[in-house]
Symmetry: C2
Subunit: 318 residues, 2 copies
């Protein structure tokens, strides 16, 4: 039986050899230069009391170590590696498996929004060469996909200079977004809502990213299902997007001041502009569970205020 047939025949399996062919790029067993290798992210500090990578002491046969699982690292550190990019107006962390950012954190103030030296008509979309080629989202993945290259940190938040504006066009700041009714409409109004908050708060921080959420199927099971665009299929199309918004009263983050917090999850789909933003409000924890991320671990409950109790959470202009 041919490999292709075999894998296709297996229930709920992917198309086997065809998938292999799809997923393969040009790299062919070539080693990457050692300079691109990162060790796996350290153990969570919850585990750091256990000395990592010292297992050779554990398994002894008489006086001799018989196995050493950490020996794999002599061949490479699997990762996952978080490609962190520190830009002028935002910081992004890239998810190599989904080929989308995991999160993008930006900072806006009335002052940062007041400049107009950057013009998006002078910017072009950019593949991020800092991400190894086999993990990189590419312009051709988006081409004719039917989806917009949707900014996580908005271009309009980086008008204070052209470099800042240009940097928002890296694909490591993009996800595939439904254009009409979403990226060009409701989502754009949500971005504007964030900017308008600078009238109320001295400083606004926004963290934005994709989600891939399960839904209940007709057979009573929950499944996550998302499209993958590009040829070969490369970039995941998120089912939803989140924004967590912080309103700060001070000029800089304080370890003791409270912050106003709003968290929103929107489907990657057309949304009627008449829909109240509050309909999409969720607890931060819902986004944490769904994303595997931990956004506000240094902010105890008593320092958290509800943004939507302090401002009208509406995309309508006040």
């Amino acid at each position: 039986m041919a490999k292709t047939m075999l894998l296709i025949a297996a229930a709920s399996a992917s198309a086997g050899a065809a998938v292999t062919a799809m997923l393969l790029g040009k790299r062919d067993g070539q080693a990457q230069p050692a300079s691109t290798i990162s060790p796996p992210s350290g153990p969570s500090t919850a585990k750091s009391s256990t000395p990592a990578l010292t297992t050779t002491e554990n398994v002894q046969s008489g006086s001799k170590n018989i196995i050493d699982p950490s020996g794999w690292f002599s061949y490479g550190a699997p990762g996952p590696t978080n490609d962190l990019a520190s830009r002028t107006s935002f910081i992004s962390v890239y998810d190599r498996r989904m080929r989308n950012p995991a999160w993008v954190a930006e900072h806006i103030t009335a002052e940062s929004l007041s400049g107009a030296k950057g013009d998006r008509r002078n910017s072009v979309f950019l593949e991020d060469q800092a991400v190894p080629e086999i993990f990189r989202a590419r312009l051709k993945d988006y081409f004719r996909s039917g989806y917009d290259r949707g900014h996580m940190a908005p271009a309009a938040d980086a008008k204070f200079n052209q470099q800042a504006m240009d940097e928002t066009f890296y694909l490591t700041n993009m996800c595939p977004q439904v254009g009409e009714g979403f990226n060009r409409d409701y989502w754009a109004h949500l971005e504007d809502f964030c900017r308008r908050l600078t009238a109320k708060y001295r400083s606004i921080r926004v963290i934005t990213g994709p989600l891939y959420l399960p839904k209940l199927d007709s057979d009573g099971k929950y499944r996550v299902s998302y499209e993958v665009i590009g040829s070969p299929p490369n970039v995941a199309v998120p089912t939803h997007f989140y924004k967590i918004i912080l309103g700060e009263s001070g000029a800089a983050p304080s370890p003791t001041a409270s912050v106003a917090i709003g968290a929103f999850v929107l489907p990657n789909a057309p949304i009627d502009n008449k829909t109240p933003l509050a309909e999409f409000s969720v607890p931060v924890e819902m986004i944490e569970k769904a994303s595997g991320l931990d956004f506000l671990s240094l902010v105890p409950t008593e320092r958290r205020r509800s943004l939507c109790r302090e401002v009208d959470c509406s995309i309508l202009k006040w």
Copy 2:
């Protein structure tokens, strides 16, 4: 319009408020203790020439810094955090979003397999308390799911003592696997194949993990679709599993010696035991592209030999 209705109405969106409710655990805006916070994994070294987290220098209005995107880290470091566990017989890295390991690396030798002091009948499945509760896979997620708690590093590779055996039962070493025809059959034979390789090679290393692969839908689009088990839905059911097997000739990894490499991707589905293992052989790079991981970056092409050219890649006993 109720939030639930609204989100359900959005095309290809998840069930909104219902999903929120599902995904929410007991934690309610509680801050985690500071000791569990890890900074985001460092920048990939490819980017390390760009000083990270120094963006305050970038945006100046006259002599004053006007924004500081890194200020978010005063509230928490989003991650992703890789929960690395160093066990007696293996090392695992956990994926908090999928609630499965990302990879599990083990080391076996004829000597490590010769002991029989550990017995799986004395072991019990264990939730991994080192993973924060909201990200932890739980025993109840698997209960009545229809899937086995499938070992990545097999119990049978850790018979040399009871502690090593017990550690293979952490859920951070498990994924939901189809039982009959896969975990208890073909997959078990593949694990046995790895052990038998110790007759040919002085040392065997195996890295094992889940994949979530796209397949071609009837509408001509590629989609990833996988079940999520537990109530609320918590643990992803992988569509496939990979094993990368290294055969070493020496007593320890050498920076110059060549290694025999085999890489296999199997669907999480019943497989006829008559199917040749070679049918599932893939280039390592296919697994790297699909997983976002980088397994052998320190091994240049000239040090890579093909395992299946040196041994009969078959689950049948030689």
